[in-house]
């Protein structure tokens, strides 16, 4: 019993412990912090890998469930955390904020995500969500001398607190309806209820809205562009991927678990959110002059695509969501990290990059193609799977709308590519590149291409995660 309990949260415990120790360290250079962080992530990954032999085990009286689903999401978060931290190293040095707290908070946020991904109890997942959110509030405002960073942190904090309250309100009603906070008990207590029950709607509406906020889906996306833009760019990469993945894990666990039979109660809301995210993300991205903001809006659009898997609701759809999340994590972290190497963030600052730094420019083109979803990249495979699931579920109209927005997205991604092909400027943006950054961005770009050329391993991975 004791062993099981500790084992069930081992990765989170390792991450939290190393995160706390990191806060106490002081070195002259930030390299040791990075090594320390990588070591923690490695240990957590080993813990996660060991868990595959103990599928179906629960810890802390059912608060944590070890299953392929949770392991898959935790893996996504771990990869995102590692890539962002490794890529952030030189950026933080440039901004003169390379402190152990940065790496510590990254690890601590990850321990919260573990609880979100593997938790099957309302209070546990809520605490996990708050751990993640509070870490991100601090990380967003980490550049203390930059007022935009502080502004972004404050906006994110205020709106985040509001959405957490909304979520908690829904949780409390859910608890009131079922008398338990464990998903299994909630499921059995809700089994007798009709999806038109006003009480059910009252519980589901705030829960889904609160979670839509966390994954930055329209109509609760307003915080995202500001927070993403103000945050240190590597943090933006982390925030846009890992935190979103954990939010999706929480949403999926709830919606496919205790709330699964009440599909009519949430289906409309999710469909609306998906289409609204596609619309807002893709249309607003067109007019952006800042690349960071453009990518922020494009990430809102991607959330729309991922949600479409839930709209389809079939097995292919959920698999497609998982696949999309992995691919999205790779290409988005890559794109944001690449941006972090530039000292300016405008779209026009990419002008002539192809001639000055052809390698970097090629990586960016690869990532942008993947984001746009063109073959032969992984982005294409992910989008293809989503469309496939929609067709299988006979949601033709939704599929058509989504396909139209793919065309729209081509325009703004190609704006960046076009700038890169232009002749160089007089005062080009300078690049700061470290070996870690090369490895991180290179890996994401190569995987974005490689998984597109041979998608079989990830497809198998997504299938196995949903066993």
């Amino acid at each position: 019993m004791q062993f099981n309990n500790l084992f069930s949260i081992l990765p989170a415990a390792v991450l939290a412990l190393f995160g706390c120790v990191l806060l106490l360290l002081r070195f002259d250079s930030s390299r040791p912090y990075l090594i320390f962080l990588a070591f923690a992530e490695l240990l957590a990954a080993i813990g996660l890998w060991r868990q595959t032999d103990f599928l179906g085990f629960t810890g802390f009286r059912g608060a944590i469930l070890i299953d392929p689903f949770g392991i898959a999401f935790n893996a996504i978060c771990l990869v995102a955390g590692l890539i962002c931290a490794v890529g952030a190293y030189r950026y933080m040095e440039r901004e003169d904020e390379d402190h152990p707290e940065f790496y510590g908070l990254i690890l601590l946020a990850q321990s919260g995500m573990y609880l979100m991904n593997s938790g099957t109890e309302l209070i546990t997942v809520f605490i996990g969500l708050e751990i993640t959110a509070v870490s991100f509030y601090s990380l967003t405002g980490f550049l203390r001398s930059n007022p935009r960073s502080s502004e972004a942190a404050l906006k994110y904090l205020l709106l985040g607190a509001f959405s957490s309250g909304l979520l908690l309100y829904g949780f409390s009603i859910l608890y009131g309806l079922s008398g338990s906070t464990h998903y299994l008990n909630i499921a059995s207590m809700l089994a007798t209820r009709n999806s038109r029950d006003p009480l059910i709607l009252m519980a589901i509406l705030p829960i889904v809205l609160g979670l839509l906020f966390k994954i930055a889906a329209a109509p609760l996306h307003m915080w995202a562009p500001d927070a993403y833009e103000g945050a240190p760019t590597p943090v933006t990469a982390y925030l846009a991927t890992a935190s979103k993945a954990a939010g999706f894990a929480l949403l999926l666990r709830l919606i496919l678990g205790p709330l699964h039979d009440l599909r009519p109660a949430w289906e409309g809301l999710i469909t609306f959110a998906a289409i609204a995210s596609l619309t807002v993300g893709n249309l607003a991205a067109i007019t952006q002059s800042s690349t960071k903001r453009l990518l922020a809006y494009s990430s809102i659009g991607h959330v729309g695509y991922i949600l479409l898997g839930l709209v389809a609701g079939n097995k292919t759809g959920i698999e497609a969501m998982l696949l999309y999340l992995l691919v999205y994590t790779l290409m988005t972290t890559g794109a944001f990290l690449l941006l972090s190497a530039l000292d300016r963030e405008g779209v026009t600052d990419f002008r002539g990059l192809l001639y000055r730094h052809p390698g970097v420019a090629l990586l960016m083109i690869l990532l942008l193609l993947s984001l746009a979803g063109l073959p032969p990249t992984a982005g294409f495979v992910a989008k293809y799977m989503i469309f496939l699931s929609l067709v299988q579920a006979r949601q033709y109209w939704v599929a058509v709308i989504a396909a139209l927005y793919v065309a729209v997205s081509l325009y703004y991604y190609f704006r960046i590519i076009r700038e890169m092909l232009h002749n160089p400027d007089d005062s080009p943006a300078t690049l700061t590149i470290s070996t870690g950054w090369r490895a991180a961005v290179g890996l994401t770009a190569i995987l974005s291409l490689g998984l597109g050329l041979n998608p079989e391993p990830v497809l198998a991975w997504a299938r196995s995660a949903l066993r």
Partner: protein, 169 residues
Amino acid sequence: MDAALFYTFAAITLAGALATVTRRNPVHCALGLIFSLLGVAGLFLLQAAELLFAVQILLYVGGVMVLFLFVIMLIHLEQAARLRQYSRQWPVALAALFAVFLEIYVLAQSGLPGLPPSPQPRLNAGGNTERIADSLFYVYALPFEAASLLLLIAIVGAVWLARKKEQPQ
């Protein structure tokens, strides 16, 4: 007797909350909030949850509100008092109010069918202290411990954001 006490505490809670929102002087607002919290503590007591009652007073009134007042006294009040008190969001406020009333109406209409039996408050001498300890340290041990991590992160984050950047020597 219980009903009378309930309505008294409920009235204190609501009046305090109203005062918090409507008073112009921040110290009066804080005082309103204190009364509201005390009213909630009284409601806990009516539910035979003595520990919650004491903890509510100790932490919220004695801890949080003292810090609130502390900060209020340190900042410039004159300027804040002259600001426009309400933002022009009354349509949103009205909509929210309408939603809440609709919710209450629906709940009253439906008569809350099929709710799980509410746990009976224990009125014996041991009180609910042990039961809360049971919940915190056994049933909900993980979230309870995780909450300590959450607080640590919040402290670190707040200190980090508030501290001035070190000047290079």
